[in-house]
């Protein structure tokens, strides 16, 4: 249910920031603010998330599918996953169908995003969110959250693309490589390079799983067999993106 103009006005006037019309979202944000950054990564619960879009612009485009999988104790739990097709409000452009293979017919019966959102929020509740170039996905999700529920997700996010850069830097300190043109940070290329098990690319759940494999790979490689805390990981990658 979209926020009415009056609700938005009320929120600005009195009800304070962060409160929404969705209790799960409020609880999520409360939990995330209480998160202890000094705990080792293996104690944290993560949601590895990926979305497929009609296009790349967060302003104009929309989500067509969401996939997410749980990581706990730095192990993937495939039994806990979230996956949904979403019917966008704008027509599905052909070039995007060519990428993610989701046809207009496939989503004709799918629920709109505001019906999918509460389930996703529930799934992410109190966890850290991980994704490949997660900023883009979060921009879409948060835009929808703000519009429908009046508040964005406060979950701290980790970007596996940044982690991959960090790991490359750690592994080969030579500065040449960093500017090499051959280096790709595309998810599939990284999976190939690190010899990960492969999953269907451009399928939201498949990409989420692929990202999860990449995430536990990088987290353990960067940690080098010593417990790594969130704080240390953030400090190690100076330019971490924080989406609060």
């Amino acid at each position: 249910m979209p926020f009415s103009a009056i609700d938005r006005l009320l929120r600005v006037l009195g009800r304070g920031p962060g409160t929404s019309n969705l209790p799960a979202l409020d609880e999520n944000n409360r939990l995330c603010r209480a998160l202890d950054q000094n705990r080792p990564l293996s104690d944290c619960v993560f949601t590895v998330l990926d979305t497929e879009l009609t296009g790349l612009s967060a302003r104009k485009e929309e989500i067509v599918s969401v996939g997410a999988v749980r990581v706990r104790g730095l192990a993937i739990i495939p039994g806990e996953s979230f996956s949904a097709l979403v019917r966008p409000n704008i027509p599905l452009p052909k070039f995007s169908t060519l990428i993610h293979r989701i046809t207009p017919e496939a989503i004709a019966e799918a629920p709109p995003l505001h019906e999918v959102l509460p389930g996703l929020v529930e799934f992410c509740k109190g966890t850290l969110i991980v994704g490949h170039h997660i900023g883009l996905d979060m921009a879409f999700i948060n835009r929808a959250c703000r519009r429908n529920h009046g508040a964005a997700l406060a979950n701290p996010c980790l970007d596996t693309m940044r982690m991959a850069m960090l790991w490359r830097e750690q592994r080969s300190p030579s500065h040449y490589e960093r500017f090499s043109l051959n280096i790709s940070y595309v998810l599939a290329d990284l999976a190939e390079e690190f010899k990960l098990p492969r999953f269907t690319a451009h399928d939201a759940l498949g990409d989420a799983l692929q990202t999860a494999y990449l995430f536990i790979y990088l987290a353990k490689k960067i940690a080098r067999n010593t417990p790594l805390t969130l704080k240390e990981l953030f400090r190690a990658g100076q330019s971490w993106r924080w989406y609060m």
Binding site: V69, P78, G79, S81, Y213, I216, N225
Partner: protein, 637 residues
């Protein structure tokens, strides 16, 4: 969320399980039930996953991608390398024990873990899973680097260990209790124990009530303390006597002994003393010990009583294998037990037929001579009769021994040693003769090598004396050694014959198997694998005047004398022992499945590691041939 329509995260796990034995046989609902609870974990290269005897295994590890090394850290032995699709920890799960091996990743490895409870739920619902794992334990040659076998429960033999928990003590009693009245001296008691051939002696009161016991240990103590041997035995007697009811299980008896720190218990049934049971009797139950068979052989007093003993060797061998004995030692043990049977048989036969007119010695040839026999051993024996020089004695000897050997062969067949297809048996006059006849035969073989003779002699040259006057066989061996020295032509002929046996590998190092017939796709491990080693060792031993007959001993002596390089010696030794072991395990399995043992192995039934080891073992043959070519200058010919 409706999992029927939407894809779920564990779909990837299901896809993996569908392509992985033994889960590929399960139906989809079973797979879903397992997949929902799996974890995916990642271990960077060099991570220790399991520590032997320390790590509690909490689930089955399936390798999704990567490689894991299994090894024994203490002994520095690599057991296996497992890669994609293989599993880890099943054995420990079934046993409920800590990890049986050390495991470390050699590559970055992704592992799918099925939690313990889910695994057992799945095995409970799908017995095919446990069958798969238990079968693979029992089937694979336990020889995986000879070590892994120790931890393998051969499924059908688990009941061995359970005997202790199920057998009543009463069943162990084989003889009446040996008891004496009070008042004996220590020395008289000891004498009584020797007379009765027992390790313990009971003392009874005039009323017949048993009230004390003396054991070997007590006598030892008496000696150590310097007690007067004429002192009454009561001074060292243990009293009261600990007893156990005949219906109690052996395990309880063992516990009683352990808690009291004693080794003998009196077994009573309805208040009446039935006999004495010792801790040794109970330990024997846990697996057949070679000692017990040994004793059994010696205790047989009739020839027919010897017939079934050959069968009791199989469980002994299984026990030895479980305890981790190497093939070389096992075949030596088989040889000793078979020697015992043959010696006992001849003893009993001499008692029946009366003493022979002249001295003689029974020779064993071929694998028995080399002490390398496994189960499928036929008779290869010969007889040396002492030179007597007197015509009538010779004729008497001939009459006696032709009857004697004919009977012997028959008895041996009944004992489980089949007739030799080539008729190389002492009952054949060609394989019987006086010492001088034998010496003449050796001379002929060596002087003018002919194909028929080379084959005959190759089996003969592994002879050793087993019963009778062994100085006759020593004398003949001496003659063989000196006859072969300098007979280059004969030895070159023998060596050239060795080279005819090419290793059974194709150009691309695949196994060459029989292309058709009843033995299609099998590999004769004896003819193709073991014989080249034996032939090599034999011809080199003859050339260098080595008198030993065992292949491993020959190789060892060749190496010590500097005729075989260190590396090649070790390779040959290990390869031979591996092949011998593979053959032994193959036959053991056949025997236990009630089949007739043979030497035909199906390479497809081997694991990747075994195939690799087998291939390498065959590869050694080419190197040995190289040595032969050089020693006997066969390159020119």
């Amino acid at each position: 969320m409706d999992t029927g329509i939407q894809p779920a995260g564990y779909d990837s796990i299901i896809t993996f399980l569908e392509g992985t034995l033994p889960f590929s046989d399960l139906d989809r609902p079973s797979l879903i039930r397992i997949a929902r609870h799996c974890l995916v974990d990642f271990f960077p290269a060099g991570t220790r996953i399991l520590r032997r005897g320390v790590t509690e295994v909490d689930g089955l590890y399936l390798i999704q991608k990567g490689a894991i090394r299994l090894f024994h850290e203490d002994e520095g032995v690599l057991v296996d390398i497992r890669t994609d699709g293989a599993s880890l920890g099943a054995l420990s799960l079934f046993n409920g024990e800590k990890a049986a091996l050390d495991a470390e990743t050699v590559e970055d490895t992704f592992v799918i873990k099925i939690p313990r409870e889910r695994f057992f739920e799945a095995t409970h619902l799908n017995p095919s899973i446990s069958r798969f794992y238990l079968k693979s334990f029992a089937d694979t040659f336990l020889s995986k680097a000879f070590e892994e076998m120790r931890c393998k429960p051969a499924a059908q033999h688990e009941d061995h260990d359970l005997h202790v928990f199920s057998n009543p003590v009463g069943g162990l009693i084989s003889r009446e209790p040996v008891s004496v009245p009070f008042g004996l001296s220590i020395q008289a008691a000891a004498r009584e124990m020797i007379r009765q051939n027992t390790g313990s002696l009971l003392f009874r009161e005039p009323s017949g009530e048993i009230c004390g016991i003396i054991t070997d240990t007590d006598l030892r103590k008496a000696m150590a303390l310097g007690l007067d041997l004429q002192a009454p035995a009561e001074t060292i007697m243990s009293t009261p006597v600990e007893s156990v009811d005949a219906s109690a299980v052996c395990f309880d008896a063992l516990l009683t002994m352990m808690s009291r720190n004693i080794h003998h218990l009196v077994v009573r049934s309805h208040g009446k003393v039935q006999g004495v049971v010792s801790s040794h009797d109970i330990m024997l139950l846990q697996g057949r010990s070679p000692m017990s068979v040994f004793r059994e052989i010696a205790s047989r007093t009739t020839i027919a009583g010897l017939y079934p003993l050959h069968d009791s060797i199989t469980p002994v061998i299984r026990t030895l294998v479980q305890q981790g004995a190497k093939a070389g030692n096992i075949t030596r043990m088989i040889a000793i037990l078979n020697d015992q049977i043959i010696s006992r048989l001849l003893e009993l036969m001499l008692g029946e037929l009366g003493p022979p007119p002249v001295r003689f010695c029974l020779l064993l040839m071929g694998s028995e001579g080399r002490r390398e026999q496994t189960f499928a051993t036929d008779q290869d024996n010969a007889l040396i009769i002492d030179n007597c020089g007197v015509d009538f004695l010779e004729r008497a000897a001939e009459t006696y021994f032709s009857a004697f050997t004919e009977r012997m062969v028959g008895h041996l067949i009944n004992c489980g040693f089949p007739r030799c297809p080539g008729d190389m048996m002492a009952s054949n006059p060609a394989w019987r003769g006086t010492l001088n006849t034998w010496k003449g035969r050796v001379e002929t073989w060596v002087a003018a090598p002919e194909p028929q003779r080379v084959l005959a002699s190759s089996v003969f040259f592994d002879f050793r004396g087993v019963y009778g006057h062994k100085d006759l066989s020593e004398n003949l061996r001496q003659h063989v050694t000196s006859a072969c020295a300098g007979k280059d032509l004969f030895l070159r002929y023998l060596a050239a014959d060795c080279l005819n046996a090419r290793p059974p590998l194709t150009f691309f190092k695949n196994f060459m198997v029989e292309k058709d017939g009843a033995h299609r796709n099998t590999l004769d491990i004896k003819a193709r694998g073991l014989l080249p080693f034996m032939d090599f060792a034999r011809v080199m031993a003859l050339y260098h005047g080595i008198r030993e007959t065992g292949t491993l001993t020959r190789l060892d002596l060749l190496h010590q004398a500097g005729h075989l390089s260190r590396d090649l010696y070790h390779e040959a030794r290990e390869a031979f022992e591996f092949l011998l072991h593979a053959r032994l395990m193959h036959q053991l399995e056949q025997m236990e499945a009630g089949k007739k043992p043979d030497n035909r192995i199906d390479p497809a039934s081997l694991s990747a590691l075994e195939k690799r080891t087998l291939r390498e073992a065959f590869g050694v043959i080419s190197a040995l041939h190289g040595v032969l070519r050089e020693t006997f200058r066969l390159n020119m010919g």
